[in-house]
């Protein structure tokens, strides 16, 4: 017998999913623009999600049995689908408006120091505010500020940039033995911290850097070394006794500037990697190289990269632009 499936319609596109799937994951099965953005949800971390409110969607029909719409917008990452459910994401002006509000709220205390932030170029908050934010802030008060804290000798915490998504807290709770990393204080004074700034010392603690959607937790071995769009990511692996050893190496010329976990289309790592792989093995001879990492073509990181070239729509009709583009491509080939 075939497994029971629930049919859910998101922005008019139907998809059949297994019961217990969340709306967000159902949307990810469809893919494309109708996937709600998620700043705090992380499929590999139990209990994550529901906090940032960027993934709010409107449930216009509850289910086949109970077709009433849900009274409020719901967090799609924590709401499971029902059979016959109809969801509106980008087709609902209410959702778009609410999401714009959430993005504005997320940014009022964010320093917007992208020019000096290591995360710039691969920052989900940057993408989100580019897609959904207003061009001007209406907030004219001083932003909250914190001192930078070193969590151990390899990780730096810059609370100013934090959006309190709690992902790193879940990483620390679920990958390490003792709960030693959490949120202190309340409201907009809340901060990520360790007890009396204790250093986090665990083989897998480096993963808090990978899960951080913004530049609040950064790799001290990479800080200020380079902009991510000048580096070239290459998938590689090694025989690691602690973790899977499957990583992405970020090259600048012949140097490996940093090592991260391999990330999927939604910026989630495939496997958590250990600190030795991340911080201490930065020589090409340590690794077996596989192939250039596939990067979403809209990402700034793909600029001047190995991936096949997708000509922009504007040049399709224009012979002059096409010729100019051909010429440019030839040059790039030589450089490669």
């Amino acid at each position: 017998m075939a497994e029971e499936k629930f049919r859910v319609t998101i922005d008019g596109i139907p998809v059949d999913v297994t019961p217990g799937t969340t709306i967000l994951n159902a949307a990810r099965e469809i893919g494309g623009d109708i996937v709600p953005p998620a700043m705090c949800y992380y499929s590999k971390l139990e209990g994550s999600g529901g906090k940032c409110r960027t993934c709010l969607v409107k449930v216009s029909k509850g289910s086949e049995k109970d077709p009433r719409p849900m009274p409020k917008l719901v967090a799609s990452c924590r709401t499971t689908v029902m059979d016959g459910m109809e969801v509106q994401n980008i087709t609902s002006p209410e959702v778009v408006e609410a999401r714009k509000g959430v993005v504005e709220m997320l940014l009022i205390n964010h320093p917007l120091d992208c020019p000096i932030c290591d995360q710039a170029g691969e920052c989900k908050l940057q993408d989100l505010s580019y897609e959904h934010g207003a061009e001007q802030t209406r907030y004219k008060f001083p932003r909250r500020t914190f001192e930078r804290i070193d969590i151990g000798d390899k990780i730096q915490l810059h609370m100013n940039r934090c959006i309190l998504c709690y992902r790193c807290v879940y990483v620390a709770n679920q990958l390490t033995d003792q709960r030693e990393h959490g949120i202190i204080s309340r409201g907009d004074h809340a901060e990520i911290s360790t007890f009396i700034e204790k250093a986090l010392d665990n083989d897998f603690i480096g993963n808090v850097i990978d899960v951080c959607p913004v530049g609040a937790l950064t790799d001290k071995t990479f800080r200020f070394k380079n902009r991510v769009w000048f580096t070239k990511p290459v998938d590689a692996h090694r025989d690691c006794p602690t973790c899977s050893g499957k990583v992405t190496l970020w090259y600048k010329g012949a140097d490996v500037l940093r090592v991260t976990g391999r990330k999927d289309a939604y910026n989630e790592v495939e496997d958590f990697i250990c600190n030795t792989c991340r911080f201490d093995t930065k020589q090409t001879q340590d690794w077996i190289l596989e192939e250039p990492t596939k990067i979403d073509k809209d990402s700034v990181i793909t600029a001047n990269h190995y991936n096949s070239f997708n000509p922009p729509a504007v040049i399709e009709q224009d012979l002059v632009l096409q010729a100019a583009n051909e010429e440019q491509l030839e040059r790039t080939e030589r450089l490669k």
């Binding site: 529901g50 409110r53 967090a75 959430v102 709220m105 409201g187």
Partner: protein, 450 residues
Amino acid sequence: MARKLLLTHIDVPGIEGFEVYRQQGGYRAVEKAVKTMTPDDVVEEVKKSGLRGRGGAGFPTGMKWSFLAKPEGVARYLVCNADESEPGTFKDRYLMTKIPHALIEGMIVSSYALGANTSYIYVRGEMMPQIRILEKAIAEAKAAGFLGKNILGKGYDLEIYVQPGGGAYICGEETALLESLEGKRGNPRIKPPFPAVAGLYGCPTVVNNVESIAATVPIINDGGEEYAKIGIERSTGTKLISASGNLVKPGVYEIELGLPVEEFIYSDEYCGGIANGKRLKAVVAGGSSVPILPANLVFKTANGENRLMTYESLADGGFQTGTMMGSGGFIAYDEDQCIVRNTWNFTRFYHHESCGQCSPCREGTGWMEKVLHNIESGKGSMEEIDLLWDIQRKIEGNTICPLGDAAAWPVAAAIRHFRDEFEWHITHPEEAQKRNFGLAHYAEPRQPVV
């Protein structure tokens, strides 16, 4: 004289002790329930009474109890929410201080109805004296055989524990309360699952307000139908109202639901009118989170009917011209009070108490506070009123728990009804520092705002 059910013996000397409480007919409900009724009978009686939750939302208590999941071999819990911290509400503290056995007796009856063998009273951390009073009352009840193993020889076991909180407003939200009770950070959980299915330690749990639990005692004593005779329509029974503000006699009053608001304010039996012969400007009817009402909508609804102290009548007109019963924190403002300053003060509270888990509430409450402070101190601009309206709209309904709504509603209502006062603060910044606006020129309430 109106009927009283909870505060009948409040003036009897020594009522806080077990002996006097027992002499006045206390613990009859426990005897009746445990000896003559099945747990389902008790739930049925409470359902018949039409009792609605007294903590703010007004959800029917009997129905809440019937939703409790009852899987085999899994413990069930009753948790009493005594984390009363809404500005303007102080009824539960009064009840626990003066007549603690009413709560303990209600806890025993309710726990029996739900089949809970362990129950908790989660008391707000600032209420240290009340915690001691409750612990003493529990010890007395235990010594008399109403608590502990094999209550009244009928084979029902119950232990009640008092747990002090850390004094956070957010821990009055039921799932944050359960988190805190489990020893974690008091962040509201994402629902579903609801506590009735997975609450304390993952077990089915009912969380009730102090007053709701205490109200089960007269319901069991006199029967649910008798209780339902008091009040109007779906607002049955009596309710404790904590009246404060510019009143001749502020304090905690037990009223029969259905009392006209006008009588509550002006009758000598209750508040005795506005202090110092001033005129009434506005009323917050149910604690700081409900919409504020201007005087022209306090006594009459927008349809010209008398406004009564019931869940329905107070909410008549929706948020456009009505308010909510809330937790019964009744605050009256006379003509000398400044609505802008009051709104700023409320928002300051919500900013301080936001748990910081979800973005709109964490960032939005602080933003609203800063904007309101700007306007209050004469540095505001007209656009900021619209900005405030927009911020509150983006918070409301988009958060995990109702704290976001509670922070948004007072701001929305203040702008809706007292926009001219906000504007005056902006156009007369110097004057606004020296005197208050006085009575508002109330806008036509049914006109849409912004």
